[in-house]
């Protein structure tokens, strides 16, 4: 919708010939509103618009015969540059097992993503994958993971009556002995400001030393996405992000904000409830959504 709004704006200008600085300001205002509506963080938008302005003037946009196309092109390139700056490769451990840990706020899709990631790795890399149910708080959490795991032929480790750290230590030991190449740990949802719960995550990371920690983030997250990601990053440092519920019509601006601020790559996106609705992240797909 941004492009069509732009077309109206610049159609008027095109007939006048060249773009005035005032016209550029108006165009940037439109872009700013579109990005905010897309849930891109306020402060990220501010920096972003300034960069686009500098870029546009640097490319002599005021002399251009097709300023609208040029500005949109610059905005699109800048977004892709931010989103695409990381690698989406999975980094496996030198010696198995490779241990992944998934973390994030309540309800973002961690348990579902645990199975999706396991399934993806199993199919694409032909490695024997397994999962650990380390959420002892949510009612029926281990049943949920067990159910999903059985359905996909993935080995699952659960243990009742134990603390999450004990479960993970025991689970890694048992699954490793069972010949699994990959172990993925599903953790309970938690607030980034819950000191005790964040400490639990830190303890697991400290004792288990997972090779990859992924933040599981809901694509419809609003302005707080930056604070959430920064806090998780400063507490447990994650290696990548899994962006979920892309199948809603959310513009997904949280992705841009988080990439820009944490510099961590989005590795995967979840596009639905089914186990196979999971794919490697592609910057250009998400970039076109953000712009609307």
């Amino acid at each position: 919708f941004l492009s069509s709004k732009f077309e109206d704006l610049f159609y008027k200008i095109r007939n006048r010939g060249r773009l005035s600085p005032g016209d550029l300001d108006e165009a940037l205002r439109e872009i700013r509103l579109a990005l905010l509506e897309a849930d891109v963080n306020f402060k990220v938008v501010k920096e972003f618009i300034e960069r686009v302005r500098t870029n546009a003037l640097g490319q002599n946009i005021l002399e251009s015969l097709s300023p609208s196309q040029q500005v949109i092109k610059i905005v699109n390139e800048e977004i892709i540059k931010i989103l695409g700056s990381g690698s989406t490769d999975i980094i496996f451990a030198g010696r198995p097992p490779t241990i992944f840990m998934l973390a994030g706020l309540q309800g973002t899709g961690k348990t579902t993503a645990t199975i999706k990631l396991a399934n993806f790795i199993k199919n694409k890399y032909s490695r024997r994958t397994s999962v650990i149910a380390a959420d002892i708080y949510r009612p029926a959490a281990s049943i949920q993971l067990n159910d999903l795991a059985k359905h996909s032929g993935i080995e699952v480790f659960t243990a009742s009556g134990k603390k999450p750290l004990e479960i993970v230590l025991e689970g890694v030991d048992s699954l490793k002995k069972g010949g699994n190449d990959v172990i993925i740990i599903d953790t309970a949802g938690r607030l980034q400001v819950d000191v005790e719960m964040m400490q639990e995550l830190k303890d697991i990371k400290k004792h288990i030393k997972p090779h990859q920690v992924y933040l599981v983030l809901d694509a419809m997250t609003g302005q707080e996405a930056v604070n959430i990601a920064e806090k998780f990053n400063s507490e447990i440092e994650f290696d990548g992000i899994i962006l979920t519920k892309i199948d809603s019509d959310t513009r997904g601006g949280a992705a841009l904000s988080i990439n820009h601020v944490t510099k961590k790559p989005i590795k995967f996106i979840s596009t639905g409830e089914k186990t196979d609705e999971f794919e490697v992240f592609h910057a250009d797909r998400i970039a076109s959504r953000i712009l609307g």
């Binding site: 973002t108 980034q192 809901d218 707080e224």
Partner: protein
């Protein structure tokens, strides 16, 4: 607030920034600011405290079409039927448990309905609460028709003279035509069985959600005619400012707020409290 002894452009920009950072849409933020700005110019108001008061009053008015979780149950109309809907992972099942606990504590008889027949361990999750609270629950086996579960549940409530039926539904995206049709079908089952519309159709909205909440509420409302909104996870750092736009434009009342994972972390929506949170 204290660094602006007199209002000026910087002051208004700072207000706009605070609103937007709280997920109030840019358009709604500018509407609120323009209105208060105009009023303060016309009445020559320069006192920060008065401006602040005007902003809060404006916001409270936007939030109060006719709100407040009105929890009195009309015993003439037994069973009262409430249905909870919303996108995936927002807190529907947890909130049903909290409502059940509330009603049980005030002496209202409750029947739980496990109408999420799709998701893994959906029944086990809600049944945990049914057992914890010692409440009856109706469920069918996984993948059976949710409409059939609802039909059986209301039938049982009528037979057992139960005051209120609480229906938990599967999470679904408003973008899924088929799943929205399924919800409409469930509503029709209820309408036919109790000869009136469900007493409450409440959409559960997650505080961390940004502008997409508008589309969620609009589409669910179009399909079902919502009677209210429940805002969850207010114990997190997100403020749910998108509710301002939703409340103002769609006139759907916010009825409850949940603020944590314990069973008693639910309260009536209080516009004054919500407004204070937006400004802190």
């Amino acid at each position: 607030w204290n660094k602006f002894k007199k209002t000026n452009q910087d002051f208004w920009e700072e207000i706009e920034e605070q609103f937007i950072l709280n997920d109030v849409s840019a358009a709604t933020a500018s509407d609120i600011i323009e209105e208060v700005k105009r009023k303060s110019l016309m009445e020559n108001i320069n006192d920060i405290e008065i401006i602040r008061h005007l902003l809060k009053e404006k916001i409270k008015n936007m939030l109060t079409p006719e709100t407040a979780g009105d929890l009195k149950i009309n015993v003439e109309d037994k069973p009262v039927v409430w249905m909870l809907v919303g996108v995936n992972g927002v807190g529907k099942t947890s909130t049903i448990a909290k409502l059940a606990n509330y009603f049980k504590n005030i002496g209202t008889s409750v029947l739980l309905t496990a109408a999420d027949t799709f998701r893994a361990a959906a029944y086990e999750q809600i049944n945990h609460f049914a057992e914890l609270l010692n409440l009856p629950i109706v469920h069918h086996q996984r993948h059976s028709d949710p409409g059939a579960v609802v039909y059986d549940s209301i039938e049982k409530a009528i037979a057992k003279n139960i005051d209120i039926v609480l229906i938990d539904t599967a999470g679904r995206m408003h973008t899924s035509y088929n799943l929205m049709e399924e919800l409409k079908k469930i509503k029709k089952v209820i309408n036919k069985k109790i000869n009136r519309e469900p007493d409450e159709i409440l959409i559960v909205v997650d505080s961390t959600t940004g502008q997409n909440a508008k589309a969620q509420v609009a589409v669910f409302n179009e399909a079902l005619s919502l009677t209210g909104i429940i805002l969850t996870k207010t114990d997190g750092t997100s403020k749910g400012g998108v509710l301002l736009t939703i409340s103002n434009e769609m006139k759907i009342p916010v009825k409850f707020i949940t603020s944590g994972e314990k069973i008693d972390n639910i309260s009536n929506f209080d516009p004054a409290n919500f407004t204070e949170m937006l400004f802190s």
